[in-house]
Amino acid sequence: MILTYRKTGTSLRIGGALVALLFTASAPLTAHADEEDDIQRQIDIQKAGASDLEHLDRSHAAAPDLQRLRDWLGAAWDLRNKHASDEAREVLERCMAQAELVRQVIAAAQLKTQVAEREAKLASTKAETDKKKKALQDAQIKKQTLDAAVSK
């Protein structure tokens, strides 16, 4: 039993040393994998964001910029797959800026649409007002005519 223990203890020490050696050797690899996972996660998040933005862009005002974003996200993915993490992160940063640009373009387009709608409504109101003014003018003329007819 003691022998077994000794043997076992030796084995354990050897095993432990091997594990430690493996761990130490694989540390940079693990860190690298985490980095790529993070990049992948960020790409996924941005892709989802791009889909959301595309959904928001009803007027397709930001279609070219969205396409560019998707292209860059594809490029980032390719870089990530090539384990070029630094380049991938640089592209991702640009993608984030591009996504912000898309958001602002969409917001600007929405506001323009809103302005156009309001202006159309205003124009309609003015047109209706002009029409009513004309009707009022005609009615006043008719009234004067009737006044003249009644006073006869």
Binding site: A97, V105, A108, K112, L122, L146, V150
Partner: protein, 395 residues
């Protein structure tokens, strides 16, 4: 020979080498991203964006400068990356600037909309008011028109009624005048105006016919005038005819009466009746014999009754003047005989008066033997001559 070839080869290789050297030293073409960025910088909203978003535009400028430097340093990839970021920042600034402009415009449009709504509401209100007034006025005008129409209709109805009434009145008046004219003609007929006033009667008939024609044409006024003329002519015809007709009628009547008298006289018992003309007068002579005894002047007993029918006859025909004339035969002196005949006539007169005959109708006389009706030589002749005659005189 070798040196010449070597020099020739060097001379040939010199230009490409120079070109390669110059190419290595020259600035490379601008990256597309940098060109796009520089184009974007010329956007009209650029200055506005810089004023509103200086951080973003400043950051873009920094990236742009970097891109230019990297390009000038021939680091095209870095230049492209920097230019892309510069473009993104600038585009973002421009988008946000656009948003601000849109917001401002939206605010302005909203304010304008409020004013336009107010204006529209005001115009609507005015229009509704005027429209309401027009409706009321139109109702008034319509009411006036209805009133006028009804008044005109009423006037027309009234006029039609008046016309109808006038027409009926004219018709009635015409009918009355026609009846009057016809009556006048019938009246003229009663005096035989067609016979005694042919011209006037013919004119009246013609005018009546003319009036009938005018009535058919509805020319009431003319018809009335014609009927007035017809009536006048008919009246005139009647007036003209009346004397002639009455005269003729009287003659006829008298003749009939005379004939009746003659019939009644002939029916008397115990008397002789004859009719004779003396001058213009007709004489119905009733000779009564045997009333008196010889030379007597009073009626024989019982003979007074023989005068009763005669008295009734005289009373029945009261318009005739009556003579009571006594006659004798020729036996005796003429003067005495005349006196005798007068006395006898007076006796008969008295008897008749006593029987109800008006005395003033009777004229008494005695002719003696002057008017014998038979031969005095014989007894019967003398008896016939000795008589009293009741004589009805007429034309």
């Amino acid at each position: 020979m070798r040196s010449v070839s070597s020099r020739f080869i060097r001379w040939l290789a010199a230009p490409p080498a120079l070109a390669l050297w110059l190419g290595a030293c020259a600035t490379p073409p601008k990256p597309t991203a940098l060109v796009s960025y520089e184009d974007l910088k010329r956007d009209p909203g650029m200055e506005d964006a810089r004023r509103r978003f200086p951080d973003l535009v400043g950051s873009s400028d920094q990236y742009g400068d970097r891109a230019t430097k990297e390009w000038e340093s021939n680091n095209l990839e870095d230049s492209t990356r920097a230019a892309l970021l510069a473009e993104i920042k600038l585009k973002t600034a421009l988008a946000r600037n656009s948003q601000e402009q849109s917001k401002a415009r939206l605010q302005s449009v909203t304010a304008d909309q409020t004013k336009a709504d107010e204006t529209l509401a005001s115009v609507d209100k005015d229009l509704a008011s005027v429209t309401e007034q027009i409706k009321l006025m139109e109702k008034n005008v319509q009411a006036e028109a209805d009133k006028k129409r009804l008044t005109e209709q009423l006037a027309n109805d009234q006029k039609r009624a008046n016309d109808e009434r006038d027409k009926l009145s004219q018709q009635l008046a015409t009918e009355e005048k026609r009846a009057a004219a016809q009556l006048a003609l019938r009246t003229a007929d009663t005096v035989e105006a067609g016979k005694y006033a042919a011209a006037e009667y013919g004119a009246a008939s013609s005018m009546l016919a003319k009036a009938d024609a005018e009535i058919k044409q509805g020319n009431w006024q003319a018809a009335q005038a014609s009927l007035d003329v017809a009536k006048g002519r008919a009246d005139r015809a009647a007036e003209l005819s009346k004397p002639s007709y009455e005269q003729a009628a009287q003659a006829t009547q008298n003749k009939a009466r005379d004939e009746a008298l003659a019939r009644d006289a002939a029916a008397l018992p115990g008397v002789a009746v004859r009719i004779e003309r003396r001058g213009e007068l007709q004489r119905l002579v009733i000779a009564i014999q045997d009333l008196f005894g010889r030379s007597q002047t009073t009626l024989q007993p019982g003979r007074d009754d023989a005068l009763e029918p005669v008295a009734r006859l005289i009373s029945k025909y009261p318009s005739y003047p009556v003579q009571v004339v006594g006659h004798t035969d020729n036996r005796g002196k003429p003067g005495e005989l005349i006196a005798l005949s007068q006395a006898r006539a007076q006796s008969v007169f008295s008897s008749l008066v006593s029987k109800g005959v008006e005395a003033r109708r009777l004229m008494v006389s005695g002719q003696g033997p002057n008017e014998p009706i038979a031969d005095n030589k014989s007894g019967p002749g003398r008896a016939k001559n000795s008589r009293v005659e009741i004589i009805f005189l007429y034309h």
